[in-house]
């Protein structure tokens, strides 16, 4: 029986009709670490399960093959599916048995790191690239030249094999330089496809095998073989596999006719031998400085934009009773408890070019997704709960009778607000602003969905760190940005602490006379 562990192999549990939910599941990389960490030494010798780390594009076909294998008496198979780039570092952690990569580069990286032996690598499958367009597209492009003329092209991340293959194809066609500025990068093929399905991107270059499992997209054309790199999925039993024997048997089974039949039905091809795709020329983050600058700009913009709404909402919640108060309060606090990826997903539904407000914004020439506006919108929304809570607390701490005295002195409520209430609440509101700024600096989940990961435009510090961690040799740059992150967070929290004390001191000064 195939038993995906909770949170890890979620995609295979979800019926095809609800593939959209998978989008967020694929991005939730934290869940990925669960199966590896949870796997203890308790592996019984006889029928111990096989833990397979496999490229996300296999998440439909591979469990089907495993069911066949188990039906024939094979050991139980457990999966963790994610982008190859995210799985490769996990192979060195020593708990998994089998690694199936979507490209040769990551496999070589694992070998270089001592995770597997080069002679054990077995080519398992082939795949091919296609151009996907939104289902409703009236005149879909027929050639790559037409594709690069479109306003926006969605690819998987630059460290993700599908993203590399797509870039290699565009380079082989001599079109990469032309289109580079209009490329948006999803964290995986599936998130790139989601943007296509929603019409945020006019086209995407994805695996053929992703097409039948994604609603809302249609195939425009297959990338011609003369520019397409050879896409080969190699598999290997890891050097540190606790269950190496069974894993070897399962790997052999994957090459049998019965298994290959299932893969081919899902759109895969037998492995072909052509020169592998060219390795990427540059690291994913070319300029860490731009990420730092962008993070500061986004943080400050979100803090300023959040000020007036937070003051108004905080005041409203502190002093007024009205119908639906609980609802308003809950809605504001939602981003605090919602997974940020879900917040991003909802924001995309609201502000996407085909979303609820998208067309209206578009009429004013405003595009939210993949522009600088997107990380700011995400930061405002996720920072608002902190901001409003702080403002509300600050207003509640101001003695209501001070306002009453002000009224009897002939000063109207509006003027009373600015002369009495606001000055007394300022330190608390400022503390909220600092928290909102700090939260904006750390914002990742909602941003990656709404804003993509575009260098110099939407790639803030957390996104840059993430991209660096995904690429071989990126850890140096990641350390620099991590250091900057820690420093900025410490400064922000020290500021918050200082402002909180200031507020507390003022409160004590006038209550303890």
């Amino acid at each position: 029986m195939v038993t995906p562990r909770p949170g890890s192999a979620l995609p295979s549990l979800i019926p095809r009709a609800s593939r959209r939910a998978q989008f967020s599941a694929l991005i939730g990389c934290a869940a990925l670490f669960a199966p590896v960490a949870a796997r203890g030494q308790a592996a019984a010798p006889a029928q111990a399960p096989i833990l397979v780390l496999a490229a996300a594009s296999l998440s439909d076909a591979l469990p089907a093959v495993a069911r066949l294998w188990e039906a024939r008496g094979g050991a139980q198979v457990e999966f963790s599916f994610a982008a190859t780039s995210r799985l490769a570092p996990l192979t060195l952690q020593g708990n998994a048995d089998l690694f199936i990569s979507a490209d040769r580069e990551w496999m070589d990286w694992v070998v270089k790191g001592g995770g597997a032996k080069a002679e054990d690598i077995v080519p398992l499958l082939g795949n091919s690239l296609v151009v996907a367009v939104p289902a409703g597209t009236e005149s879909p492009p027929r050639t790559l030249a037409e594709v690069v003329a479109l306003p926006r092209l969605a690819l998987a991340g630059e460290a993700v094999p599908a993203g590399r293959y797509a870039r290699a194809a565009l380079e082989a066609a001599g079109l990469w330089d032309e289109v580079e500025g209009r490329v948006v990068r999803g964290e995986s093929v599936r998130s790139a496809l989601e943007w296509v399905a929603r019409g945020e991107a006019a086209a995407g270059i994805v695996y053929r095998t992703d097409m039948p499992v994604t609603p809302g997209v249609r195939l425009a054309f297959a990338i011609p073989p003369e520019v397409s790199p050879a896409i080969v999925y190699p598999g290997v039993v890891l050097a540190s596999a606790p269950n190496a024997a069974a894993a070897g048997e399962f790997l052999a089974f994957l090459r049998t006719a019965a298994a290959q039949e299932v893969f081919i039905a899902a759109g895969f091809e037998p492995p072909i031998s052509r020169p592998p795709a060219a390795p990427p020329q540059a690291g994913p983050v070319e300029n860490p400085g731009s990420a730092i600058l962008l993070s500061l700009v986004v943080g400050l913009a979100a803090t300023l934009l959040g000020l007036v709404p937070s003051v108004l909402l905080g005041r409203l919640l502190a002093r007024r009773e009205f119908a639906g108060k609980a609802l308003v309060s809950t809605l504001i606090l939602m981003p605090l408890v919602l997974p940020p990826v879900v917040t991003g997903f909802l924001l995309l539904t609201l502000f996407g070019t085909r979303g609820v407000f998208g067309p209206a914004l578009g009429a004013f020439g405003i595009t939210v997704p993949f522009t600088l506006i997107a990380p700011v919108v995400a930061a405002v929304v996720v920072g608002l709960p902190f901001y409003v809570l702080a403002a509300r607390g600050a207003f509640e701490a101001v003695d209501a009778r001070l306002e009453e005295v002000s009224w009897t002195l002939g000063v109207r409520p509006r003027s009373t607000f600015f002369r009495v209430v606001l000055p007394l609440a300022v330190p608390g509101i400022a503390a909220g602003a600092v928290l909102a700024f700090a939260r904006a600096l750390g914002e990742f989940g909602a941003t990656v969905v709404l804003a993509g990961n575009v260098e110099g435009r939407t790639r803030t510090i957390p996104l840059a760190v993430y991209s660096l961690l995904e690429s071989p040799g990126g850890s140096g740059g990641a350390w620099v940005l991590a250091g900057v992150s820690v420093l900025l967070s410490l400064l922000a929290l020290a500021g918050f602490e200082g402002l909180s004390r200031w507020q507390k001191k003022r409160l004590e000064e006038w209550s303890g006379r």
Partner: protein, 221 residues
């Protein structure tokens, strides 16, 4: 704001006509008060509703029903749906906790309603707080704070000045002196005073008329 507080106002007849009901929790008020005196004291045990009655007159307690008329002007008439907002009432209210604005100096507190610098200084002199003008409320004694709050209310030039235990934090000689000065000032400026006190002491003794509030009922002594 023209002229100074101590300037003789146009001699108009001050009169207060109150007939209100209010119940909040266990407190039930049913009050009839008619007077044209310059100074009225309301005495009674704690919890009788004295402070609440002042809040009704000030217009910051909005739940009362009935009628309040000040010198012929309607401040409250629930039958006709009239409620004059506190900022339109020309009422001075000095609550029991003086409630100075903590982020302002004494001078800024006293000038809050828009009084000129010379008016502020004159009133501060009268209330013996002139040396304190640049201080913050947190650096004042209880008695000083009460006087600043009183000055702040006076400088808004009210027709009716509501004082809730106004001199409780002062020692006796200063209290007697101050009560006298305030009465004199009110007389000259044509301000009607309503004082609240929990005992029938010095403060109440200076009033021309005394009323007793017990269990929500007001009776003239």
């Amino acid at each position: 704001m023209v002229g100074t507080v101590s300037e003789v106002a146009t001699p108009t007849v001050r009169s207060l006509d109150v007939s209100v009901r209010l119940s909040i929790g266990t407190l039930g008020l049913g009050v009839e008060l008619r007077t044209d005196r310059r100074a009225v004291a309301i005495v009674g045990p704690s919890g009788a509703g004295k402070s609440t009655l002042l809040r009704v007159l000030a217009g910051v307690e909005r739940r009362a029903t009935g009628k309040v008329e000040m010198s012929g002007r309607t401040w409250l008439d629930t039958k006709r749906g009239v409620f004059l907002e506190p900022w339109d009432r020309r009422v001075g209210w000095v609550p029991q906790n003086d409630l100075l604005f903590p982020h302002m100096s004494v001078r800024e507190n006293m000038a809050f309603a828009g009084a000129s610098a010379s008016d502020v200084e004159e009133t501060a002199e009268l209330l013996a707080v002139r040396p304190l003008l640049e201080r913050r409320p947190r650096n004042l004694s209880g008695g000083e704070r009460q006087r600043v709050a009183l000055g702040r209310a006076l400088l808004a030039r009210p027709e009716l000045l509501l004082l809730d235990e106004p001199f409780s934090a002062l020692d006796r000689p200063l209290r007697l002196d101050l009560v006298q000065r305030v009465h004199a000032l009110a007389e000259r400026a044509g301000i009607m005073l309503v004082l609240v006190s929990h005992d029938d002491g010095d403060t109440a003794a200076m009033a021309e008329e005394r009323w007793l509030l017990v269990e929500g009922q007001l009776n003239r002594l």
